[in-house]
């Protein structure tokens, strides 16, 4: 494996691409999930850019943190598979399988991230029945935003550990 020329360069390129993909996926995914969860009642871009709503910014940041962490957890197993694929010799079929694996792994991270965020919010909403959280956040209640953000991050921390195991099994499949 080590004596092959170009491996280090190619691996670095793949690694950088994966990191960038994780960042893009987590930011875009978070915005879509937030819009979906608020039932399109809140325009995220408008609230952050024009109304300078710190509450929305906090919640969105926690979503990005959680989904981003999950995407980054998938990078290591993908690189593991990359070195195994390289050792087998790159063919059209193996490259295609690897690309499909990357897509699957990233989608998996996004789906688990979305489930985590949804689960965290559901738990919180069941516990605090009397408050309409989204309405409070829209009105600029930072306290509610902080509680939601922390809940999402903590639940995400627990779920992060399982992502890499799922990705390993995706490639084995």
């Amino acid at each position: 494996m080590y004596e092959t020329p170009g491996l280090e360069l190619l691996s670095t390129i793949i690694y950088i691409i994966l990191i960038f993909a994780s960042v893009i996926l987590s930011v875009m995914g978070s915005m879509i999930i937030l819009t979906f969860l608020t039932r399109r009642q809140i325009d995220v871009k408008e609230e952050i850019a024009y109304n300078q709503n710190i509450g929305i910014a906090l919640v969105l940041s926690s979503f990005i943190w959680t989904i981003g962490g999950m995407c980054l957890e998938s990078v290591k197993p993908i690189m593991n598979e990359w070195y195994n694929t390289w050792a087998s010799g790159i063919t059209f079929k193996s490259a295609l399988t690897f690309a499909a694996g990357i897509l699957g792994a990233m989608l998996n991270a996004l789906i688990i991230g979305a489930i985590t965020v949804y689960l965290a919010l559901k738990i919180l909403m069941v516990l605090i029945k009397d408050i309409d959280e989204w309405e409070e956040i829209k009105q600029g209640n930072i306290a509610v935003a902080i509680v939601i953000s922390v809940t999402v991050i903590v639940v995400g921390m627990f779920f992060e550990s399982i992502v890499s195991y799922i990705v390993i099994n995706i490639f084995r499949f």
Partner: protein, 301 residues
């Protein structure tokens, strides 16, 4: 004048002492044998089980035990490797490692492949007891086995289709990963081995646990002709984990996990327990334990 014939003994009471000693030895041997039924079977050295093929006697009258391994490298390329283990070397290795049941003499432990880490003195029912903490002396076993593995490594190189100049790391790692993962017994052939198989026994038994397989991989890597491999054992302890990895000196590629020594450079970690882990990749739990500093390094060479 009466002449009395008397016998003068140099050691008065010597007869009684010898007799008492013999009786003690007899009683002790009885206790040892009757202590456990398993011990009785362990007293015999049996190298002729059902699955063992022994080759016809060689020119130098040396018997060899054949072991067949099935593995894959690279992915989906099936391979078979046959090892001819000299029976004399195997017997010697089994003899040199492990201590009899109940033996805790520090000098004896060190002589039989264990390394003393410390001593604890404690009182129990008004009696002082000493307890020694020891681990397997990986370095001693590794150095001793280098000669035994030269021929076996050549066989593995041939079966992996590796030509001279190719790095055998990934192929050898894959071979060791395909060896069955199973914890060796605490006692083997009547001796305490602390659930560790020396590399030759690991090949002979066709299974091993993390440290047995890691040391086996180290033997293979360091006996490649012209190899200047530097290897260390990484013993991970803590957070409910008790695991062993091998680490070898290599350049760090993106995504890999490595240990850095300011004088020696990067050592990438190798997971030997199951197939699928490329060099430098380990599970998240073990990475976390290593990051927390819950490991102990044993330099092999």
């Amino acid at each position: 004048m009466l002449k009395a014939k008397t016998q003068v003994s140099l050691f008065p009471g010597a007869k009684e002492i010898i007799l008492t000693f013999l009786v003690c030895v007899f009683i002790l041997s009885l206790v040892n044998i009757k202590g456990s039924k398993e011990n009785q079977s362990r007293l015999f050295w049996d190298f002729h089980g059902e699955n063992i093929k022994t080759t016809p006697p060689q020119t130098n009258e040396e018997k060899q035990i054949v072991r067949k391994f099935k593995w894959e490298y690279p992915k989906e390329t099936k391979r078979e490797t046959f090892f001819r283990i000299p029976e004399a070397d195997l017997k010697r290795e089994i003899k040199k490692f492990g201590v009899p049941h109940g033996q805790s003499d520090p000098f004896f432990l060190e002589k039989r492949g264990f390394k003393l880490l410390g001593k604890r003195t404690f009182m129990e029912e008004y009696t002082a007891h000493e307890q020694y903490t020891s681990i397997v002396d990986y370095q001693q076993i590794f150095q001793r086995n280098l000669e035994n593995f030269k021929e076996l490594t050549r066989g593995l190189l041939d079966s992996a289709d590796l030509s001279r100049g190719n790095d055998p790391l990934h192929a050898f790692l894959s071979f060791v990963q395909y060896i069955q993962y199973k914890t060796p017994p605490l006692y083997y052939k009547g001796k305490f081995i602390n659930s560790f198989f020396v590399p030759l026994v690991c090949l002979y038994e066709k299974y091993g646990d993390c440290d047995s397989k890691a040391l086996l991989l180290a033997e293979f890597l360091c006996t490649v002709p012209g190899s200047e491999e530097k290897a260390v054992m990484v013993l991970v302890r803590g957070r409910g984990l008790a695991h062993a990895l091998l680490a070898v000196k290599r350049d760090l590629l993106p995504g890999m996990t490595a240990l850095f020594d300011i004088k020696k450079g990067y050592y990438i970690v190798l997971e030997t327990t199951r197939p699928g882990w490329a060099p430098g990749f380990i599970s998240r739990r073990i990475t976390d334990a290593i990051k927390a500093g819950l490991f102990y390094l044993v330099a092999l060479n």
